[in-house]
Symmetry: C2
Subunit: 205 residues, 2 copies
């Protein structure tokens, strides 16, 4: 079944999750698909369809139990365990991630950080000492890293991506403004800030 | 016509643009929709459809002239002028944007930065002095800011968003992990790093 779930649905699930967490914190107990749809500016039929891929856990007239829905979504998204993350490139973006407490709360633990800058190697950021990128493969294996973040400049991004794939990494979050051509088994998610600004500008007439 | 262009198309155009710029830099002159599709992992029919919204500028057998396609895309995306951007929240993410040369190259000029931290107010980052967020409205008007970036912690994000809307801002790029309910005339683009990691994890079975 899972292969049939559209990628757009998978992209929306974390947004539902974040929104439901906010509601739970504010003391709300249940919610209708209409409310989710309105708040997140998604079509109501789409919200219902997205959630229906994973079984019928809403009730007519009552809506969804928020706690139950959160636990279902976390299960679907494989968040009922901790994922081990490495940061490649300890510039401002890399450091922001290393110091952001929200990641660990959601189940992402940064267990290694790498750079090629001698001034950064050996320094402590948060609880982690920055490693030499030369030791990437060895340390990724030692620390059982599953996800890598690329936050190096554009010029070295492709080289780092290839190194990661060679070291067995199957999931990459890339901040560098370039596209990789990697084997299909490797999943890459791109964070392209310039592209985001361009999309905004399109609507500013 | 422009209102009929699907949002998913608008989201892909900046990616085409980035890829074409890379090709141009590497000396390539023309490209087929197949090549774009393969490199960016988008269906070929979709690439052709996306580009056809803006007129017929590919030629059978020859493909697209890269320079022409870039100039068309920049025109469509309103990038043939400079856009004036303000950074709200000069933490690591805000600083990363202020120091990133790629933004100006693509037509986004950061003209103001704000924080509420006394240690940051008055300090120079890049070419800009950080302003007190209390002066937000006044300075946004003075500097004719069109786009605002929210890079403050989650706790103050909604307050800053409301202030921006009151000050007349119509386009917001938000890094805080929360959703805003703002008037429809305001366009918000969300950068949610935890959500991106969650999407990746879904595919790591």
């Amino acid at each position: 079944m899972r292969d049939l779930i559209p990628i757009q649905t998978i992209k929306r699930l974390p947004l539902y999750l974040r929104y439901l967490n906010e509601l739970l914190e504010s003391g709300k107990k249940s919610i209708s698909s209409q409310e989710i749809a309105q708040s997140l500016e998604v079509k109501c039929s789409l919200v219902r369809k997205d959630l229906s891929y994973f079984g019928e856990f809403g009730r007519k007239g009552v809506g969804y139990d928020i706690k139950l829905l959160i636990s279902k979504l976390r299960e679907i998204l494989h968040l009922n365990r901790t994922w081990r993350v490495a940061i490649c490139g300890v510039g401002k973006i890399g450091q922001a991630l290393m110091l952001y407490p929200g990641l660990k709360k959601e189940g992402f633990e940064i267990v290694a950080a790498f750079d090629n800058d001698k001034d950064k190697i050996g320094k402590k950021i948060g609880n982690l000492v920055v490693n030499d990128i030369k030791d990437l493969s060895k340390i990724l294996e030692e620390k059982k890293v599953e996800i890598a973040v690329i936050s190096v400049p554009k010029e070295s991004a492709k080289e780092v991506a290839n190194l990661l794939v060679k070291s067995g990494i199957r999931a990459i979050l890339n901040f560098a403004p370039c596209h990789f051509n990697l084997p299909k088994k490797v999943k890459v998610s791109y964070v392209d800030l310039t592209a985001k600004l361009m999309q905004l500008v399109y609507y500013l007439r």
